[in-house]
C-alpha cells in the first residue's frame, strides 16, 4: 500500500508541471482577445477587452494569479461560455467515459478471441488474416474509419444514426471507430504473448498430463498471457482519450474531446486547463489501476 501512496504523492508535481506547460503553450501560441473580438473591432475595443480580462499583466503575474485560484480548486471561468470551466468539463465527462468504455469493450471483444485463435493456429490462413487485419486496423486513422462507417452503415444501409448522443444505437459507430485501433494493438499483443507462453515448459507439462487443449489454452496459457495485455489496456487510456478528440468531432459526440478542441482553437485557457487536468488524472489513475491488477494477476510481483 505504501507503494501506491507514494505513487499518488508523485502525481502532485506532475500535475503542477502540466498546468505550467499548458499555460505556456496556450499563451504563447495565440492571443485570446484577438480570437474573441470581431475582425472589424477597433484598437480601443481590443484594449478595453484585454484590460478587462487581465491580459495586460505580465505573463508570470497572470500565472501566479491563476495558480493561486487553482490551489483553491478554481480553474476560472470559460471566456467562451462565461461559466465555470471545471463544471463545463465535468458536465461532458459522462459522454466521454461512455464512449471510452464502449470502445474498450469493443476492443476486448474483437481482440481476445482473434488474438488467441491466431496464436493457436499460427501461420494458418486465419493467422495471416488476423495479423494482416491488425496492421490495417492500426494504420487506419480513426477519423477516416469514422467517416466510412457513417457512409456505409448510416447513409447507404440505414442501420445506425449518423451522429449525436442519445440511444444505445448512437454509441455503436463511434465506439467501433475508436475501438478498432486499440483492438488491433491488443490483438497483436495477445497473439505474441500467447505464443510465448504456449512454448513454455509448464504448458508442455499440462499437455503431457493429458489435459484437454481447451483447458490448456484457457486456464494455463491465457491467464498468463493476460498480464502484458492488462498493462497495454491501461496504457491505451491515453490513446483512447487522444482518439476521443477526433472521434467526438466526427460523430458530434458531446464529450470532453470536442470541448477541448474548441477551447484550444479559441485559446479558452480555463477550459483547456481544466480538461487537461481531468484527463491527466484519468491517465494517472488508470496507470495505477494497471499496477494493482497486475499484482492481482501475478502474485510474484511485489512493490513494497
Amino acid at each position: 500500500m505504501k507503494y501506491f501512496a507514494q505513487s499518488l504523492l508523485k502525481t502532485i508535481p506532475v500535475l503542477f508541471l502540466i498546468t505550467l506547460i499548458v499555460f505556456i503553450l496556450v499563451r504563447v501560441t495565440g492571443d485570446p482577445v484577438s480570437l474573441m473580438i470581431s475582425e472589424t473591432a477597433t484598437d480601443e475595443e481590443r484594449k478595453a477587452l484585454r484590460e478587462s480580462l487581465g491580459y495586460n499583466d505580465p505573463i508570470y503575474i497572470q500565472y501566479f494569479d491563476y495558480m493561486g485560484d487553482l490551489v483553491k480548486g478554481d480553474f476560472g471561468d470559460s471566456h467562451r461560455y462565461e461559466t465555470d470551466a471545471l463544471n463545463l468539463v465535468i458536465e461532458r465527462l459522462p459522454a466521454t467515459i461512455e464512449l471510452a468504455i464502449a470502445s474498450m469493450v469493443i476492443a476486448i471483444i474483437m481482440s481476445v478471441p482473434l488474438g488467441i485463435l491466431s496464436a493457436i493456429k499460427r501461420n494458418s490462413f486465419l493467422d495471416l488474416f488476423v495479423t494482416g487485419g491488425a496492421v490495417l486496423g492500426k494504420a487506419m486513422p480513426n477519423f477516416w474509419l469514422g467517416i466510412m462507417l457513417i457512409l456505409f452503415l448510416a447513409v447507404n444501409i440505414e442501420v445506425f444514426p449518423v451522429s449525436g448522443r442519445g440511444t444505445f444505437l448512437h454509441l455503436v459507430l463511434p465506439s467501433i471507430a475508436l475501438g478498432t485501433g486499440i483492438a488491433a494493438e491488443m490483438t497483436r499483443l495477445i497473439r505474441s504473448s500467447m505464443l510465448e507462453i504456449l512454448g513454455q515448459d509448464f504448458i508442455r507439462t499440462a499437455r503431457s498430463k493429458g489435459l484437454r487443449e481447451a483447458m490448456v489454452v484457457n486456464r494455463h496459457a491465457f491467464r498468463n498471457a493476460l498480464i502484458p495485455v492488462v498493462t497495454i489496456m491501461a496504457l491505451q487510456t491515453s490513446t483512447l482519450i487522444g482518439g476521443t478528440l477526433i472521434t467526438e468531432t466526427v460523430f458530434a459526440w458531446p464529450g470532453i474531446g470536442q470541448l477541448l478542441i474548441q477551447a484550444v482553437n479559441l485559446r479558452d485557457m480555463a477550459v483547456v486547463q481544466a480538461a487537461v487536468f481531468i484527463i491527466a488524472i484519468f491517465v494517472i489513475l488508470s496507470n495505477l489501476t494497471a499496477d494493482l491488477v497486475y499484482r492481482l494477476l501475478d502474485p510474484r510481483i511485489k512493490y513494497d
Binding site: 474573441m36 475582425e39 464502449a102 469493450v105 449518423v162 460523430f251
Partner: protein, 519 residues
C-alpha cells in the same frame, strides 16, 4: 481464472454503458436514420449547425451562428430586411426627431416568456447595458448610444452622443434583442444564462452544450402563432457528418455545406441545395506606404489585374460566389452595385504596369493568409499565388493557423499583403469602410487619401440618407482605384435542405424558424 476476471469486467462495462445511455436516452427517438422523406408532416424541425451557440448573453458573443438561434427567442426593436428595409418588430413606429434623438413607440401587450410585460424600462436596461460596459464584445457597436429616455411605458427616446445615421442598423443586428430587466435583476445573470427569458416566438426547452438546443413554442407570443411544435438546433462540427445527417433525414437543414459535397446532395432524392449570397467578402489588404513594393499604386493595380476572380469562384467554389470590387455588396445601405458582380482581369496590362513601376524582372511580395479559417482559403491563396507568378509577382506565402493569424492581425504586423474575409452585421457601408479611415488604417494599410477620408467622415454623421449613400458610393469608387484593399469575391452560404420544408436563406444568415415552412 479467465472466467473469474474477464467476465465480471465485461458485465460491469456493459452495465455501465447501459446506465450511461439511459441517462439521456428516449428523447431522441426520431433522430438519425430514415429516408429524407420520412416524418414529412412532423412539426419538429431539426437544423444542423457547425458550432453550438456561445452563450445566452446576447451582448457578449459576436457570433453569427449564435445570433441565428437567438433571433427565435428574443425580439429586436426593428428588423432589417434585405428586401423591405426596416420593418417593425417590437417597435410599432419610430422617428428621427433631431440630429441626436430618435423616438420609438413599442407594441403594447408584449410579454416575456415568464409572463412579465415588455416595456420601455426593459429597452433602457438592455441598450444602456451594452452601451456602457466596455468588457462586452458588442460594446463597440452600441457605444454611440448616450441614453435611453423613458417617456412612458411604451414610448422612449434614444439619444446618441453624436449624430448617428446608422442607428437603425445598429438596433437590428447581432445582440439587438431586448432583455427582461426585472427577471435579470431579481434572479441574477447566472440564472438568466441557464434559463434565458426573451419575448420571441420560441422559448428554451433544453440546452445540452455541443449536442443540441431545443426550443418550444411560446403560447403567448404577441405576433403570429409559432408554427413548429419543437425546433432542434444540433451541433455537428464535421462537414461530412452534417451532410450525412441531411441525406438520411436526421436534419431538415444543414448549414455550411462544402462545395465538394454539393453533388452528393443533389444526386439524392428528397434533398436539395439552397444557396444565398452572404455578407462575407474575401479580400487582400495591402500596405500603401513605406518600403513595401505595394506602396506603388501600379503594383497594387497589377496584383488586382493579375487575379482572375471568376476562375477561383468557378473552380474552387463550384460557382457559388460572386466577384466583386467592393465590400459593400447589394442589400447593404450604401452599396455601389456598379462595382458588384464584375472584375478587372488583364494579365498583359498587369505586366506593363509592373514594368512601368520599375519591376521588369519581377517583384517579390509576402502574402499572409489564414489556413482553415475560410472556405477553401489555402487553395484560393495558392491559386492566386500561381496567377500572380504568371505576371511576374512572386508571392511568398505565409499560411498561418487562425489564432496565430489573428494575433498578427491584431498587432497589425503583416508585411505587404494579407488575405482575410470580412462580414458586415450592420448592413451599412459605415462598418465596411471604417477600417479605411485614416485613424483605423494606420499601421495596417496606412491608407491616406484626403478625398476618401472627407467622404467617409461626412457620411459617418450625415443624417440625409440619400446624400449619405452617394458619399459612400463615391468613396467605394475611389477605393476600388486606390486599392488599399483589393476585393476578390463574395462567398455564398450553401445549405442542404430536406424537400419537406420550404427554406429561403437570408443574407444575414439568421435562421428565423417561423419563416421556414412545411411544403
Amino acid at each position: 481464472m479467465k472466467k473469474k476476471i474477464l467476465w465480471p469486467i465485461l458485465v460491469v462495462f456493459v452495465l455501465l454503458i447501459a446506465g450511461c445511455s439511459n441517462e439521456s436516452g428516449g428523447e431522441s427517438e426520431s433522430e438519425g436514420s430514415g429516408d429524407p422523406e420520412e416524418n414529412s408532416d412532423s412539426k419538429r424541425l431539426v437544423i444542423a449547425n457547425g458550432t453550438d451557440i456561445v452563450s445566452f448573453d446576447i451582448h457578449d458573443h459576436n457570433n453569427t451562428s449564435t445570433e441565428a438561434v437567438h433571433v427565435n427567442m428574443f425580439n429586436y426593436l426593428v428588423r432589417n430586411d434585405a428586401e423591405e428595409g426596416f420593418v417593425s418588430d417590437l417597435a410599432e413606429n419610430w422617428e428621427n426627431i433631431d440630429e441626436n434623438t430618435w423616438t420609438f413607440t413599442l407594441e403594447e401587450g408584449v410579454t416575456f416568456h415568464n409572463g412579465e410585460e415588455l416595456t420601455a424600462e426593459d429597452v433602457k436596461y438592455t441598450l444602456e447595458r451594452v452601451a456602457n460596459d466596455d468588457t462586452l464584445l458588442e460594446y463597440g457597436s452600441y457605444q454611440q448610444i448616450e441614453e435611453v429616455e423613458i417617456l412612458n411605458d411604451y414610448e422612449f427616446n434614444i439619444h446618441t452622443h453624436e449624430s448617428e445615421p446608422a442607428l437603425l442598423n445598429r438596433l437590428s443586428r447581432l445582440g439587438s434583442g431586448i432583455l427582461p430587466k426585472d427577471y435579470i435583476e431579481s434572479e441574477g445573470w447566472d440564472v438568466f444564462l441557464e434559463e434565458p427569458v426573451g419575448s420571441g416566438p420560441y422559448k428554451l426547452k433544453e440546452w445540452r452544450k455541443d449536442d443540441q438546443l431545443v426550443l418550444e413554442p411560446f403560447e403567448d407570443y404577441f405576433g403570429e402563432e409559432p408554427k413548429w411544435e419543437e425546433v432542434v438546433f444540433r451541433t455537428i462540427p464535421e462537414d461530412s457528418t452534417r451532410v450525412s445527417e441531411v441525406l438520411t433525414g436526421g436534419a431538415d437543414i444543414a448549414v455550411n455545406i462544402p462545395p465538394t459535397d454539393i453533388e452528393r446532395i443533389e444526386q439524392e432524392d428528397g434533398v436539395s441545395i439552397v444557396t444565398s449570397p452572404s455578407q462575407r467578402v474575401m479580400l487582400f489588404a495591402l500596405r500603401t506606404q513605406g518600403d513595401y513594393p505595394t506602396a506603388d499604386p501600379k503594383v497594387r493595380e497589377a496584383i488586382d489585374l493579375a487575379i482572375d476572380k471568376e476562375a477561383i469562384v468557378d473552380s474552387l467554389l463550384e460557382g457559388y460566389g460572386t466577384p466583386t470590387r467592393t465590400r459593400v455588396t447589394p442589400g447593404n445601405v450604401g452599396a455601389n452595385e456598379d462595382l458588384y458582380d464584375t472584375q478587372v482581369y488583364d494579365p498583359e496590362k498587369a505586366k506593363e504596369l509592373l514594368a512601368e513601376a520599375g519591376y521588369e524582372n519581377g517583384v517579390n511580395i509576402t502574402l499572409s493568409a489564414p489556413n482553415g479559417r475560410y472556405l477553401k482559403d489555402k487553395e484560393s491563396v495558392e491559386l492566386m499565388q500561381a496567377m500572380l507568378e504568371e505576371v511576374g509577382i512572386t508571392a511568398e506565402l505565409e499560411m498561418l493557423e487562425w489564432s496565430a493569424f489573428s494575433t498578427r492581425y491584431s498587432d497589425k504586423d503583416f508585411e505587404d499583403v494579407f488575405f482575410i474575409a470580412y462580414g458586415n452585421s450592420m448592413f451599412d457601408a459605415s462598418l465596411a469602410l471604417q477600417r479605411l479611415t485614416k485613424e483605423q488604417a494606420a499601421g495596417e494599410t496606412d491608407y491616406d487619401n484626403p478625398e476618401t477620408e472627407q467622404l467617409l467622415q461626412d457620411a459617418m454623421s450625415n443624417m440625409d440618407p440619400e446624400e449619405r449613400v452617394e458619399q459612400y458610393q463615391k468613396a467605394q469608387e475611389i477605393i476600388a482605384e486606390d486599392r488599399p484593399q483589393i476585393y476578390l469575391y463574395q462567398i455564398d452560404s450553401i445549405y442542404g435542405v430536406n424537400d419537406r420544408v420550404d427554406f429561403t436563406p437570408k443574407l444575414s444568415e439568421m435562421l428565423y424558424v417561423d419563416e421556414i415552412t412545411l411544403k
